[in-house]
Amino acid sequence: MHNDIKTRREEAANYSSVFYNGKTLRIPIDKNKPITELQYPEFLDISLGNKCETGKCPWCYAKGNPKGVHYPDVANRINDYFGKMTPNQRPYQVAIGGQQEPLEHPEFEQVLQTFSALGIVPNYTTNGVLFDNRAVELTQKYCGGVAITLHPHLKEYWSKAIDLALANKLRTNIHFIVSDTASIDLLKEMYAKYNGKIDYFVLLPYMNVGFAAKNPKDIDYAYLEQWLDEVHSFANIAFGANFYKFLKPLKKWNVSLYPPEILSKYLVCDEAMKVYKSSFEMIQVRG
């Protein structure tokens, strides 16, 4: 169901793209000029609420917590919001996560149905705690894939979740939060274990915001660079936007770099349905 080919174009941003089978190829209209910030994002991060009971992650940058709320009526809000857009304005795909564990949300299935009906591929991030056969079915039916975040205190859950996802041939990414030397040692261990089995290791820098501000950590960039040099030809490593400042001066590894947030935005599905720059930088841009 996701094998339709789609194209998008924004003249003002010098942007054109083709989307097929979950992959997006971006091409500048004028090859001598850069692609600039899109009026209509190519993809969006989606928050369905800030209530999160299963994770209780002390470093949660978004402050998801058990006393938060699942935003109500989100499937209808999403349908209204994106249904008004032309196909050229709709994002190719969304990443559901934001402030909570999305599998906790009571409307999760309806949300996936709604996005899929709109021709938008939904993907999501899970901590693995609630990832079960039903989640596998929903992912197979509606999603491009799933990301499983390796929070150290939830190892028994994400370990099983990865096995379950791979056993069911889901397109599976691993999200790994990179911080100090010990975290990179764990990354090396996980890379050795799952390399060649999962689709991408998505490396995300530890951000000293939200709950993590109480326990700030420095990222061992030198050690990370050393390991990446050792890996050298990494076909399945991707970097989150907040690694931009690390990657740009290095000019290594053929990574496709562009200024963060020019192609994406963050949509919070509360009553206001406001769009923000990103889940790290809650600067309202629309809504």
């Binding site: 190829l25 091409i27 500048p28 001598n32 397109r171 990414n173 989150g240 192609l263 963050y266």
Partner: protein, 107 residues
């Protein structure tokens, strides 16, 4: 005569986006070429062609420092003088219309 080489100035290429903290930067690699080949195959199929990308082109990665992108795709016609080459030109022209690529055609 069809120019034997075209360049698709790729700004970036991304796979499945699952990251709830915005953009993902991915290294361009053989998988990128494979994915673009699959895209072109799909476009050819939608256009009613029985030809495949590999029948018409070779695609490889190349560096083009003047572009803002870190990598470009170098697309070469397999046979610039044959009938297939002419068909290649026509199809590539269609593709470039869709992709907005500057495709040269000398004759």
């Amino acid at each position: 005569m069809l120019n034997e080489k075209y360049t698709i100035p790729v700004h970036s290429f991304v796979d499945l986006i699952t990251n709830s903290s915005t953009e993902i930067y991915i290294e361009a690699n053989k998988g990128t070429v494979k994915s673009v080949t699959e895209m072109i195959n799909k476009i050819l199929d939608l256009g009613g062609s029985k030809m495949k990308c590999d029948d018409l082109f070779t695609i490889e990665l190349g560096k083009e420092e003047e572009y803002s992108s870190s990598v470009s795709l170098i697309v070469k016609s397999r046979d610039e003088n044959s009938e297939l080459g002419k068909k290649t030109a026509a199809i590539l022209s269609d593709l470039t219309g869709l992709f907005s690529i500057d495709a040269a055609y000398n004759g």
